[in-house]
Amino acid sequence: MKTAVRNYFVFLARSASVAFEGDWRYFTWIGVLFAICLLGLNAYSRQLSEGLVVTGMTDQVSWGVYIANFTFLVGVAAAAVMLVIPVYVYRNEELHDLVIFGELLAVAAILMCLAFVTVDLGRPDRFWHLIPGLGKFNFPGSMLSWDVIVLNGYLLLNVHICGYLLYCRYKNTKPAKWFYIPFVFIGIFWAVSIHTVTAFLYVGLGGRPFWNSAVVGPRFIASAFTAGPAIIILALQVIRRFTTYRVPDKALLTLRSIVQVSMLINLFLLANEVFKEFYTDNLHVASARYLFFGLDGHHALVRWIWTAVTFNIIAMILLALPLSRSLKWLDVACVLAIIGIWIEKGMGLVVPGFIPSPLGEIVEYLPTWNETAVCLGIWAFGFLCYTFFLRMAVPILQGTLNKSNESAAAPAAGIVSVKS
């Protein structure tokens, strides 16, 4: 038992030290991310001491980019299952190791989600009121309490699965099926649940007709399964470019077909929503009208939503054409889809729900510089986490960092490999 614990800590220590090895490009990347994190931390400190008044939020528009980013990133986290399902349900062995990259992305995304909700709190020092048993948890009444459970549960599931598989690979032993396969299958349903629950946060509010629509849940899933795998495609290409890890083209093309189908469904559902709002043309159309065309001379979001729609449609066309079998075009389509969906379901969903206010008042929202800096800081933190995770995972999966070379003098020598 004692040696088992010791072995595990040696594994952790070695993995951690690998994360701080690399060439100048690696350290520049880490350094830049760290600097942006600090910028965000500085902005957040200002928010802590002065209050949320340093953001663009008001009583009328009481949620802004923090919650928008949170919503988007829950989707990214959920999308990890789009690698899990082909491997564990359809036995596509080529993708097997790539699942770990997807799940590590989910872990990084959930960490960012937790950061985004924390910075949105007026009294983050009272976070313990949310801990079941310790505080006063409004479960099952509040959808936010469901979200706390599903997000943290999803984080634990993914940390367990990747951690266990990587540790087994490190020890060069075969993972015990009973110790991870059940969690993989729970994880598939759990992933859908995290995004459904996040959609229900909005859907459940009868006083906000723009959100109170049954199609928001399915739209969230469809857009998540577009943007998430698109991010994984880009991440895998980065891995391919900057490490010696071989990512087969076939893996990218499998993901391409997922993004393809999801984007079609996503745009179809968006069209449903648009039809219902504008054809009915009752008083509840006000938010949608504000979003797409502006209302009474207020049109802060119009440019954004049309950018999103345009990007999504171009991405859909590119994905539908055989052109995107070429990786360059696939990258273009992915970048467009990611930006389009980030706008559409972040700012394009959260903000118009508040405009006009329930008493018909139009107060517009624009994030302040301080708020933007906090967001950038959290994104940089997420990228930093994911970079570290990949830095540790790649040599373990390649077998260059393993138990048998533990006693070697320079443990990590030779694994820090960069394609030139």
């Binding site: 701080f20 090895e21 690399g22 060439d23 350290f27 760290f34 600097a35 600090l38 931390l41 500085n42 400190s45 200002r46 802590l48 001491s49 002065e50 209050g51 949320l52 008044v53 953001t55 008001t58 009583d59 009481s62 909700v117 709190l121 007026g122 009294r123 983050p124 020092d125 009272r126 009121h129 949310l130 505080g135 006063k136 009444g141 509040s142 959808m143 936010l144 946060l201 509010l205 009868g206 006083g207 008083l283 006000a286 729900g353 006009p356 206010s357 329930p358 008493l359 018909g360 008042e361 003098a409 320079a410 020598a413 030779g414 694994i415 820090v416 490999s417 960069v418 394609k419 030139s420």
Partner: protein
């Protein structure tokens, strides 16, 4: 193709010197990192008093025993005295048996003078800078109830203006309150006398209730409230008008410190036209019972199913 690790210049035969060098370098980087971090956190020095350890560990209102509540109320009185130089009387008023409060507002009589708004601010120790108000009065053109056609910022020489009616909106103290349903920590709840209250010491400031409310009744303290000492109302209650801090929600509580002591809400007392009526709906002889029985009353947004305890009616 592999490149060397950063300290790869050291031959592998000298593991000790290499580790010392990388240790030195590592600690330099680490020190620089910590210094940068400290610089980043600098704005925290301005952080005003975030509260004592007692305050941090304070339990939810429903779990406080009477003797604990006594200590807390005394602590709050001391805090208010320190901050404002005024010794207040902070009490924890309990609901009365057989009482369920209801509000009725006569739209025929309301002239839109906003005296209720200002009386509310004065009574309930709302922040003056930034200004925070529980009551919003809409100037509505005759012939519609579409609130998007209402004017929130009307400021003519005199009111009322012909062709308009005025509709004050405040917390409707719903029987089926969406704000209570969505709160993740039960910091807001409905009392037996029908008033939905907030424990300002338990609210985490997520603003989910504000998004859920169909009546725009809730207000958030985006920064530390400020009230001139001479304007402070020293008659305070725990669930009502004691001063709040930044980062928590607040809203109309039917002047709990008055109504639970048998008085009328401040907005009613100040109303020059008698448009506002308040009382116990469980008492068949009360004025509100008479109004609900004999007037054609209605509630705002009945379709959202919130069952408000705030009724509107027209006299003519």
């Amino acid at each position: 193709m592999t490149t060397s690790p950063p300290d790869g210049a050291a031959p592998p035969s000298e593991p000790r010197s290499m580790s010392r060098r990388s240790f030195l370098r590592g600690s330099t980087v680490m020190a620089a990192g910590v210094a940068a971090m400290a610089a980043g956190l600098a704005p925290l020095r301005k952080l005003s008093d975030y509260g004592s350890v007692d305050e941090f560990l304070q339990m939810h209102y429903s779990e406080l025993k009477p003797e604990q509540m006594k200590v807390i109320l005394e602590r709050m009185e001391r805090e208010v005295q320190r901050q404002y130089g005024v010794r207040p009387h902070v009490r924890d008023f309990k609901p009365m048996n057989g009482v369920e409060f209801v509000y009725a507002l006569n739209l025929t009589r309301c002239t839109g003078c906003r005296k209720c708004v200002h009386a509310c601010v004065a009574e309930n120790n709302q922040s003056r800078d930034p200004g925070l108000e529980y009551i919003r009065v809409l100037k509505m053109p005759n012939g519609t109830f579409d609130m998007e056609k209402g004017d929130h910022n009307y400021a003519p020489e005199s009111v009322p203006e012909p062709g308009f009616f005025y509709m004050p909106v405040q917390c409707h103290q719903c029987k089926n309150p969406p704000c209570v349903k969505v709160c993740p920590v039960k910091a807001t709840w409905q009392e037996p006398d029908g008033i939905t209250v907030i424990d300002y010491n338990w609210c985490i400031g997520c603003r989910y209730c504000e998004a859920a409310c169909p009546y725009f009744a809730r207000r958030f303290n985006f920064t530390e409230p400020s009230i001139p000492s001479e304007k402070l109302n020293p008659n305070m209650s725990y669930l009502g008008n004691r001063p709040r801090h930044k980062g928590v929600m607040e809203k109309c509580h039917f002047c709990i410190q008055r109504t639970r002591a048998g008085r009328y809400p401040a907005c009613l007392e100040v109303c020059p036209t008698g448009a506002r009526k308040f009382g116990n709906i469980l008492d068949p002889d009360s004025e509100v019972s008479y109004i609900l029985k004999h007037k054609r009353v209605f509630v705002l947004k009945e379709e959202v199913g919130t069952l408000p305890r705030f009724f509107y009616y027209f006299d003519v």
